[in-house]
């Protein structure tokens, strides 16, 4: 099934140094996590590499800014390509109250972003929960998979804007259709990843559990789900990503406050610098959240890659 796209997202394989250290070789200080011990042993190499990696990233960022500045100068029209400086000024403007005007449309930039993040959080939490249940059922019951899998694939192929119209007809223009949209967008990646992982549960471990007297439910709870967790987590990261990219669609109607609604309004009034600022805010917060999810993943699933 679709385990290949989900695999490509999991960029971090368990570090080699960590895996090759047997407990006999490295005396660990009591209570220190294993990875910590590994890092202190081989400190200079990775640290130098890390510094270089950060250096390269900073340099490329500066180059990008320079290119942007050049492009803005070449365009000569701030409504077409705003200069970095103009975007920065908007950031300051939108984060404060100026001449009685609070931020943009009465809300500060962080408030727009916060409301969108809240929508993403609730929407994708609902979608993830439903996708998890659906995925387990799809993976465990062959005839349901036969019936429901095309439906999931069908929904996955639809652009969120396409079914948003339907959701507005059904649920009005307030929060409900927005949350529905994000939940529907977040559900398929989790369902597909979970179904694949549950379906491909390691037979050796399932058999071992049965040999120990595990009930059917025990096997699902103690073997199938933990074994599927790494893939499920990848599915969750994909789902949050999809919810992120759908939030602008969800806020096209009655979306202020909200970062998507802000971008849309700014587009109407040709405030290109605000548009660019909004895009930057969405992208950067997305990076941050994916980083948090990845950190949580290595914490919660230390056995990733060892099943």
């Amino acid at each position: 099934m679709t385990s290949s796209p989900s695999r490509s997202v999991s960029a971090d394989p368990p570090s080699l140094a960590d895996g090759s250290l047997t407990p006999d070789e490295v005396p660990e200080p009591a209570g220190a996590p294993h990875a910590e011990g590994a890092r202190t042993v081989s400190a200079p190499g990775p640290r130098g590499r890390r510094a270089r990696r950060i250096g390269v990233r900073v340099l490329s960022l500066l180059a990008l800014l320079a290119l942007w500045q050049l492009a803005a100068a070449a365009a000569g029209n701030p409504s077409f390509v705003p200069a970095p400086r103009a975007v920065w000024d908007q950031l300051v403007l939108l984060s404060t109250t100026h001449e009685g005007v609070r931020g943009y449309g009465g809300h500060l930039l962080v408030e727009h972003l916060g409301i969108s993040l809240r929508r993403i959080l609730i929407g994708s939490a609902l979608g993830v929960a439903a996708g998890l249940v659906l995925g387990v059922v799809l993976g465990a019951v062959p005839w349901i998979r036969l019936v429901a899998e095309p439906v999931v694939t069908f929904v996955r192929a639809l652009p969120p804007l396409a079914y948003f119209s339907l959701l507005i007809i059904w649920f009005g223009i307030d929060e409900t259709p927005k949350l529905w949209l994000l939940a529907i967008a977040a559900l398929p990646p989790v369902a597909v990843a979970t179904a694949a992982a549950v379906h491909g549960a390691p037979t050796g471990l399932v058999e071992a559990a049965r040999a120990l007297g595990a009930s059917r439910w025990d096997v699902i709870k103690d073997v199938v789900l933990p074994a599927a967790l790494p893939e499920i987590f990848t599915g969750v990261r994909l789902a949050v990503g999809v919810a992120y990219s759908s939030v602008v669609a969800a806020e096209t109607v009655n979306g202020v406050p909200g970062i998507g609604g802000m971008v849309r309004d700014a587009q109407r009034y040709l405030q290109t610098d605000v548009v660019v600022l909004g895009l930057l805010a969405i992208g950067l917060s997305g990076l941050l959240i994916d980083g948090l999810l990845r950190a949580a993943e290595t914490r919660l699933i230390p056995w990733r890659g060892r099943v």
Binding site: G204, L205, A208, A211, L212, G213, P302, W303
Partner: protein, 271 residues
């Protein structure tokens, strides 16, 4: 530890009802893309309680199939399989050790043993007490809090044995458990298994392709022919089960004679 009769004094003969394992005219055929493959039999075998039975044969002789039938993972195509007088069901009445440790990586070493105790219906308070006890019995100390991948392959297989012993089942099934280990580790685990088996006295069925291992471990050795596996040789091993060190045992003239006899039978059966 449960007090079981010393295997040396256990009844040498038993009728089919009390037999730990009883096979009657068992045949097994695998259906595959290339047409049906007869894997086993017909084979009849009665194993009295307390026996350490070793099944030897070349690869693909159906010895693992036989073990899977006894474990209840598969039903024979024809004939009957009984363990403790009843049809075998996985997880009831038999602990199993596989060729790979098959430990759960999301559990610590102790957690793996604890889970086995939980499935066996042992109450929580008692589980905490029995986990270190079981690990000690297979020669492991201070590893209960380790992650499964932080211990060696030999230690992992020891944990797998501890886990299989957790249920206190009357029967222990082992499918080439030491085949993937290096020679030195293998020898040490063989010695420890022989000791543990003498202590617990429980009926064991051990599958291997190693003649050396068969003679060293078995109180009875059955050599299987090549596919479909049938009994080529059924031999009671008269070697002492307790009181003799492993090196002394290997040095006995009877040991060498048995090894030669079984080795000859295995080669003849595989030809």
């Amino acid at each position: 530890m449960s007090s079981r009769p010393d295997p040396a004094t256990a009844p040498a003969t038993a009728d089919e009802d009390v037999a730990a394992v009883h096979l009657h005219e068992v045949e097994h055929v695998y259906g595959g893309a290339g047409g049906p493959v007869a894997a086993l039999g017909p084979i009849s075998l009665t194993v009295p309680p307390g026996t350490f039975l070793v099944l030897v044969g070349a690869s693909g002789c159906g010895k693992s199939t036989l073990l899977r039938l006894v474990a209840g993972f598969e039903r024979p195509t024809s004939g009957t399989v009984r363990t403790g007088g009843a049809e075998p069901v996985p997880g009831r009445g038999a602990g199993i050790v596989f060729q790979q440790p098959r430990l759960f990586p999301w559990k610590t070493v102790g957690g793996n043993v604890e889970l086995a105790l939980r499935y066996a219906g042992v109450p929580r308070v008692e589980r905490a007490r029995r986990v270190p006890e079981l690990l000690e019995r297979v020669g492991l100390h201070d590893v209960a809090d380790r992650r499964v991948w932080q211990i060696s392959g030999g230690q992992q297989q020891r944990v797998a044995i501890a886990r299989a012993l957790a249920g206190d089942d009357p029967l222990l099934l082992l499918d080439e458990p030491f085949a993937a280990l290096d020679a030195l580790t293998r020898e040490r685990l063989q010695e420890d298994l022989r000791r543990v088996s003498a202590q617990t006295g429980r009926t064991s069925v051990f599958v291997t392709h190693s003649v050396e291992e068969a003679v060293f471990l078995g109180s009875r050795v059955v050599v299987l022919t090549r596919r479909p596996g049938r009994i080529a040789l059924d031999l009671d091993v008269g070697l002492p089960r307790t009181g003799v060190g492993p090196d002394e045992l290997r040095a006995l003239p009877e040991y060498a004679a048995l090894r030669a006899e079984v080795g000859h039978a295995v080669r003849a059966a595989a030809a």
